[in-house]
């Protein structure tokens, strides 16, 4: 039954309750979602590369393009980023980091991953049914109720993935609270563990709101209720309020574990203590949890909301910069007096620091109500959230795969191909999104397959499309590298990056069932980030 040595058995993988295998299943599912959604991104970029219909059928106009957009957004966020960070990374690494043998409820964990795969299958039906959903990942009514597209598919996908996420949240919170190695205090936990705890608290509080909102959508469309229909006394903006009440905190569900991964990699690869650990945890992570529920209206700045709430939430949204700023200082400060070892994961992590600056700071004008009036719904927004949520978070997932590759496979990831993939990716994303920032400020609207009123933007779209293909090449190299290294990579030493964290110091690579050969206890002066002697 050893996961390390016994031969491959499909049955063992399907019915597994081992958190490491479940983590790998999440990784496979989320990378599959990423690949398909990435192909949609290429179609989107090709379509926009020239004026007029480029590859869409001219007779159906935007319909095809709208389905690509829907799938790209929904699959990237719900099928890749959230499951990649809170499914794959949390499952595989969190129990190891706290010295636990598994999660608190292994069977519920198995249920989570299969609900997730159910959600992915539902999302894939987009390409099979004759009336694919075309409601974007936001699903705003009344459009989502009037459309001939299959809104139910969207709703059920959200239900399944949301349910999986709530189960995961309960599971991991209980695991962290009750299953830490004896002696491990709250201030001795890895920052990735803290980031997962705070992210799952956000999920637990806010996912039910999203589930309720999309359920009301379902009732309005198929059962004849009028929650969102103003002609029958409903409220046309209610859905948007409920949706963003979840979906803005959802970006922190992505951001927090992404930052947690960065802390692990940067601290390990600089062999340095995290700078001001407590400020990062209590000021940064908990600060975000505290404010995350009071900022959703910045998604509705141009929706005719009352002035007092548009101004009030401008202030609360700007204040997010305080906890995020503290996390930034801890993250950048960890480099100070470090000894930087340039592993492939560290390349991604350092790249992320710069992506974080661009993505974070371009959020500030969007937080300001009046500046957002011009910028919202333009490709400036689109470039902003791709930098901070899309690329930044995706890079942390890739960094995590590289950093813990020896842990998962017992082999070292190929460094040359890894670095080639990294450089293609980071150059590609800048080539793609800087032109979009620029034309966004000049007024390029989002979700346009054609832009005949803005012919002057065509060259910028061409450059952006070129960038997307550079990223595609980078990702092809990256995924190929993972496959080759997993099969025939050089055998790894037990602790190749010389980390001080429990998953490297106390358990073999890859870990067998039960993770740790001997029960782990930690002393009061133990800390995952102590490297120096002073």
């Amino acid at each position: 039954m050893s996961t390390a040595s016994s031969g491959f058995s499909l049955k063992e993988w399907v019915f597994t309750t081992d958190h490491k295998r479940i983590g790998i299943l999440y990784l496979i599912g989320s990378i599959a979602a990423f690949t398909l959604a990435g192909l949609m991104a290429l179609l989107i970029r090709i379509e926009q590369s020239s004026l007029g219909p480029t590859i869409v059928n001219p007779n159906t106009g935007g319909d095809q393009y709208n389905v690509w957009l829907y799938f790209h957004g929904a699959a990237m966020i719900l099928g890749f980023l959230i499951p990649g960070l809170t499914g794959f990374a949390a499952n595989y690494f969190l129990p190891l980091m706290i010295g636990a043998k598994d999660v608190a409820f292994p069977r519920i964990n198995a249920l989570s991953v299969w609900l997730f795969f159910g959600g992915i299958v539902l999302a894939l039906l987009t390409f099979i049914v004759s009336d694919p959903p075309d409601v974007m990942w936001t699903g705003y009514p009344p459009y989502s109720i009037r459309t001939g597209g299959n809104t139910a598919l969207y709703v059920f996908t959200v239900h399944l993935l949301g349910f999986a996420s709530i189960l995961g949240a309960v599971n991991f919170l209980v695991t962290v609270i009750y299953m830490r190695a004896p002696g491990m205090g709250w201030n001795q936990m890895n920052l990735f563990v803290w980031s997962t705890v705070t992210a799952f608290i956000i999920q637990l509080v806010f996912v039910p709101v999203l589930a309720a909102a999309v359920t009301m959508l379902l009732f309005d469309k198929y059962l004849g209720t009028h929650f969102f229909d103003p002609s029958a006394g409903g409220d046309v903006l209610l859905y948007q309020n409920l949706f963003w009440f979840y979906s803005h905190p959802a970006v922190y569900v992505i951001l927090l574990p992404a930052l947690g991964i960065l802390f692990e990699i940067i601290s390990t690869c600089t062999r340095n203590m995290v700078f001001n650990y407590k400020a990062a945890v209590y000021g940064g992570m908990w600060g975000i949890v505290l404010i995350s529920g009071e900022v959703w209206v910045h998604h509705l700045y141009i929706s005719g909301m009352p002035d007092w709430i548009r101004i009030g939430q401008m202030v609360s949204t700007l204040l997010i910069s305080v906890p995020v700023g503290l996390l930034t200082i801890s993250l950048f400060g960890t480099l100070y007096r470090g000894a930087i070892h340039f592993t492939v994961a560290m390349h991604y992590a350092l790249g992320c620091l710069f992506l974080f600056l661009v993505g974070g700071l371009t959020g500030i004008p969007l937080a300001m109500t009046v500046l957002d009036v011009h910028l919202s719904e333009t490709s400036f927004v689109h470039a902003h959230f791709h930098f901070i949520m899309g690329i930044f978070a995706a890079f942390t997932v890739f960094a995590a795969v590289y950093h813990w590759f020896p842990k998962m496979t017992g082999r070292l990831p190929g460094a040359a191909m890894g670095k080639l993939g990294f450089w293609l990716n980071i150059i590609g994303v800048h080539v793609t999104f800087y032109p979009l920032f620029w034309i966004g400020v000049k007024g390029m609207p989002r979700r346009y397959y054609d832009y005949q009123m803005f012919p002057e933007f065509e060259p910028f779209h061409k450059i952006a499309t070129l960038g997307a293909f550079i990223v595609a090449a980078g990702m092809a190299v990256t995924i190929l590298n993972w496959i080759i290294s997993a099969i025939s990579g050089e055998k790894s030493p037990e602790n190749p990056w010389k980390s001080g964290s429990l998953e490297w110091t106390h358990c073999p690579s890859p870990p067998g069932p039960g993770n740790f050969p001997k029960d782990v206890t930690v002393t009061a002066d133990w800390h995952p980030y102590t490297y120096g002697k002073n």
Binding site: P230, R271, N272, I364, V373
Partner: protein, 243 residues
């Protein structure tokens, strides 16, 4: 409990004071688009400085603190003293907060200009539907634009006079986007929203739909034309007679 109510009341009073001030500024009819551009440039400086400091520091440290050997370890202190810990949390927190409030105050001032319609503004009703813009003037005259046939006048307004749009939708949510005037507001069924703009000189621009509304979302646009006032009166008369 008193304290809990004090805050919103204080904020409310501030809001009123700001609104009154904005109305005064608007008395001279300030062009909101110009104010927007000004604020945007200030903001770029603000985030440029902040981003620049972090980026340069990170680049320098990445260069300076490269490991000398595979076993090299960092030399930062294991832990900060209590005073250092608090200082490194509170000082940056207050700097960020100060910048937030500074930006919020600046943004609020321009926002009030955006929301305070000058008294002599021309009123036009806007009705959006999938996928068309229709404009109705005070005398009931209607104007529209047919994208496929490229026919119709769209929104015609007199140059030099503020224009206020009262907008609603017949079906789904659309959004009135007027890039030239840095303006955008959703147009919804069952609600009326408003925006105003100031076409100082005769100009030819266009409105695009900027809230996703299905198949022809990308083609939902109409010309917005400002003409000399006399020409506008003529146009309106001709249009009314035709109807």
């Amino acid at each position: 409990m008193k304290k809990a109510f004090g805050l919103p009341i204080g904020l409310g009073a501030l809001l009123l004071a700001q609104a009154a001030q904005a109305a005064e500024v608007a008395g001279k009819v300030v062009d909101p688009a110009k104010e927007w551009d000004h604020l945007w440039h200030e903001l770029l400086i603000d985030i440029g400085i902040m981003g620049g400091i972090f980026a340069v520091l990170a680049a320098y440290w990445i260069y300076k603190y490269q490991a000398k050997s595979p076993d090299d370890i960092g030399t930062a202190p294991r832990s900060l003293s209590r005073a250092q810990m608090w200082a490194w949390a509170m000082v940056p927190a207050f700097i960020f907060m100060a910048d937030d409030f500074f930006l919020a105050a600046k943004g609020w001032t321009v926002w009030n200009i955006y929301r305070t319609v000058p008294p002599n503004a021309l009123e036009v009703k806007v009705t959006a539907s999938m996928w068309n813009w229709e404009f109705e003037y005070a005398d009931g005259t209607k104007s529209t634009y047919y994208v496929d046939a490229k026919e119709g006048d769209g929104l015609v307004v007199p140059a030099g006079r503020p224009v206020v749009l009262r907008m609603t939708s017949l079906d789904v949510i659309h959004s009135f986007g007027l890039v030239k005037h840095r303006l955008k507001e959703d147009v919804m069924p069952g609600r009326i929203t408003y925006i105003w703009f100031l076409p100082k000189e005769p100009e030819k621009t266009f409105v695009t739909c900027v809230e996703y509304c299905g198949t022809n979302h990308a083609n939902m646009y109409a010309p917005v034309v400002a003409v000399p006032p006399a020409e506008f009166e003529q146009w309106l008369k001709k249009k009314a007679n035709k109807a």
